[in-house]
């Protein structure tokens, strides 16, 4: 049975052997997956946000609100396509397409499943894989910025330009954090190919704890938890989703880079946003959540869960959960202020990431030591860290003076303050109304009093 599993894992040598119709089929599948995910994503997002924020939306109308996407699509298609007079026409036209192309292209290196048999061809469920597949994803996301920036510039007005500049600064900053958190994955997996990373998460290393053989979990979300958290935060920043949707902050920039866009060009921008949300969820699944592999308890009971077409189910399930988290974040978190957002990226995510990579490489470099030496080295490191945390000079200041003390210590001639125990007297008009009213014909209870 074990041998069967291993045979399911595609290696780099399995790619590039498909006939042309199979390649075409896979490409069309990935593309249609992106589009369908957008169609369902719009519906899903509105419905979930409708329930979360207790407001009317697709959670109220229609058969499960399913017609929402159709209504949206029709509305966009029939709107007037406006081309601003000051726009740079060619760039204005191409900017949304750049966004969409880059968002969809990333899906080509995402593994949807293991080796399957399609019309007699033994082929991996993945469009293609190269030895630098994760870098292809990074390249696509860095090229995707061009769509937004050029859209902002080509509109020829101020708010879109500001939105475009914001988004380029934002996405470049968060790409750094994202790239650094992938470094930990590379170090652990020892490969940059996505199918290789999925294969590396199949089995955790065997640890011997006091005589017991314990299988450590294989998912990098657990092994490399800091990287996973930072990566996911960075993907939210990279996809311009709330709470990081500063390029299109409507309270500051009208609609940011897409202010001047309408009709189908706007629809393309929206499409690219949803596709990149799904793509980023798929990439997170691949890099950190074990890819298409079934989650832990399932494989214990059902050995065949990781073979055949079943893995697509696990993969789509994981992607759906991550998309839900994206929507959840949007439904619950307020938008960050721009300076807070940049400070968070550069001064929090980046240093934590660097320190974590340092710690990880330290742990990796003592991996082949004797287990006693290894324990000793880890214990010394952990002890130093603990002592430093305990005896770190606390920055706690003097206890804050109470409000009354602050009031008493104000210098003479300060602006007068109302008394602290101020009670607003009832309005005389209220009294008159009460007095004129007919007395109610009920016995006054103990708690009744005039207002």
């Amino acid at each position: 049975m074990n041998a069967l599993y291993l045979a399911q894992d595609p290696t780099l040598a399995d790619f590039g052997k498909d006939p042309w119709w199979l390649v075409l089929g896979k490409i069309v599948f990935a593309f249609v997956f992106g589009l369908l995910a957008t169609l369902l994503g719009v519906w899903f997002e509105r419905r979930v946000v409708g329930y979360m924020q207790v407001r009317p939306g697709p959670n109220q109308v229609g058969p499960f609100g399913l017609l929402q996407t159709l209504a949206d699509g029709l509305k966009m298609a029939f709107k007037e396509d406006i081309l601003p007079r000051t726009a740079d026409k060619v760039v204005f036209f191409f900017a949304p397409t750049i966004s969409v192309i880059c968002a969809v292209t990333s899906l080509s290196v995402v593994p949807f499943g293991p080796m399957v048999s399609i019309f007699g061809h033994h082929t991996p469920l993945q469009v293609t894989d190269v030895s630098v597949a994760v870098l292809v994803i990074l390249a696509c996301s860095s090229m995707g910025i061009y769509g937004i920036v050029l859209g902002g510039w080509a509109s020829g007005s101020t708010y879109p330009l500001l939105g475009g500049l914001r988004s380029s600064a934002q996405m470049i900053s968060y790409e750094v954090a994202m790239g650094l958190s992938i470094v930990a994955v590379f170090m652990t997996a020892g490969t940059m190919s996505t199918s290789g990373i999925v294969a590396a998460q199949a089995h955790g290393t065997r640890l011997s704890l006091g005589g017991w053989e314990v299988a450590a979990p294989g998912w990098y979300a657990i092994l490399l938890l800091p990287s996973f958290i930072i990566f996911f935060i960075a993907t939210v920043g990279e996809t311009n989703r709330a709470p990081f949707d500063l390029p299109e902050a409507e309270s500051e920039l009208v609609a940011g880079f897409m202010t001047e866009y309408s009709s189908l060009k706007f629809a393309l921008f929206m499409l690219s946003e949803y596709v990149s949300m799904v793509t980023m969820s798929a990439v997170t699944t691949t890099l950190f959540l074990g890819g298409w592999r079934a989650p832990a308890p399932i494989t214990t009971f059902w050995a065949g869960a990781n073979s055949g077409w079943w893995p697509m189910l696990w993969f789509f399930g994981k992607v759906l959960i991550l998309v839900f988290v994206f929507v959840w974040l949007r439904g619950t978190l307020p938008r960050l202020r721009y300076d807070q957002f940049m400070r968070f990226g550069w001064k929090v995510l980046l240093p934590i990431n660097l320190v974590w990579i340092l710690v990880l490489s330290g742990l990796r470099s003592i991996e082949d030591w004797q287990s006693r030496d290894r324990l000793l080295a880890t214990a010394i490191g952990a002890g130093v860290l603990l002592l430093a945390t305990l005896f770190w000079p606390s920055r706690r200041r003097e206890p804050r003076p109470t409000l009354q003390e602050q009031v008493n210590s104000r210098p003479h001639g300060s602006f007068p303050l109302p008394p602290m125990d101020l009670q607003v007297p009832p309005s005389p008009r209220t009294k008159r109304v009460v007095a004129e009213r007919e007395p109610a014909n009920v016995a006054a209870g103990s708690d009744s009093r005039e207002v």
Partner: protein
């Protein structure tokens, strides 16, 4: 991967590689020419992006996938984006002027450029014609990425560290030059600003408007404070203080009796 390296070493060009090359090479050339020809600075940068993308794919074709992807991520994705960032702030109507400041400058530039391209092209052709790539298989034996990593962290580690130190110095220098340092005590947070506002000597409310009374509607009339004093702050500073003389205030005698 391995088939690619073998082909590259054998100096023969596979069908797919040739097709990709002949599609992308004209595109790269068009990008380069467009970069020089475009009047608008942003268009120029975009043509350059096209050329850089094609170069990235060429690297991948030449069995160097890592350098190809890094070309796209770093040069196209980050550095050109920063270029674009600056160009956008210049203003979208900033185009090249077509006036020749030196006579015959354009013709000379075209001639010299063509000559230089010819020299470099023929030199490269003569130097590399019939040369077979040697050692590609060994270099990529453990995989392209691993091979580069091994070189970077063993043979070239010192040069690599020096380069990074140089870049860090440049970045820190730029920040030191551009950053206006404010001392911590000079920086006022919201609480400090509010306290300063209510400190004695500072009037926290909006300034009183100039007086519009029953006797006058002039902005030069100062407002009265609650205690009856006139406040000078209510009148604009540019208005001269003007006292009316007795002659001006008396009736002019123009009324009909």
């Amino acid at each position: 991967m391995t088939t690619q390296t073998v082909l590259a070493e054998a100096a023969s060009v596979s069908g797919g590689e040739a097709v990709t090359f002949w599609i992308l090479a004209p595109l790269a050339l068009i990008g380069a020419i467009g970069m020089v020809w475009a009047r608008n600075a942003v268009h120029s940068a975009l043509w350059l992006v096209l050329t850089m993308l094609c170069l990235g794919v060429f690297y991948v074709l030449q069995a160097g996938p890592f350098i190809g992807m890094v070309q796209i991520i770093v040069y196209t994705g980050a550095i050109m984006m920063l270029f674009l960032f600056v160009l956008m702030l210049v203003g979208r109507d900033a185009s090249d002027s077509l006036i020749e400041t030196l006579r015959g400058q354009r013709t000379a530039a075209v001639l010299l450029g063509l000559g230089f391209a010819g020299l470099v092209g023929s030199g490269l052709y003569r130097a590399l014609h019939g040369v077979r790539a040697v050692g590609l298989e060994q270099a990529n034996a453990e995989g392209n990425v691993q091979g580069i990593a091994r070189l970077l962290f063993t043979k070239y580690v010192f040069a690599f560290e020096l380069t990074s130190a140089l870049l860090i110095t440049a970045a820190v220098g730029a920040m030191v030059l551009a950053h206006v340092e404010r001392r911590k005590e000079d920086r006022m947070d919201q609480v400090a600003t509010m306290k300063a506002r209510f400190r004695p000597g500072n009037y926290p409310g909006p300034k009183p408007g100039p007086g519009v009374f029953a006797t006058s509607s002039s902005v030069a009339t100062p407002a009265r404070l609650p205690d009856g004093r006139l406040t000078e702050r209510s009148t604009p500073d540019i208005l001269p203080v003007r006292e009316l003389t007795a002659e001006e205030t008396s009736l002019k005698g123009t009324d009909k009796k």
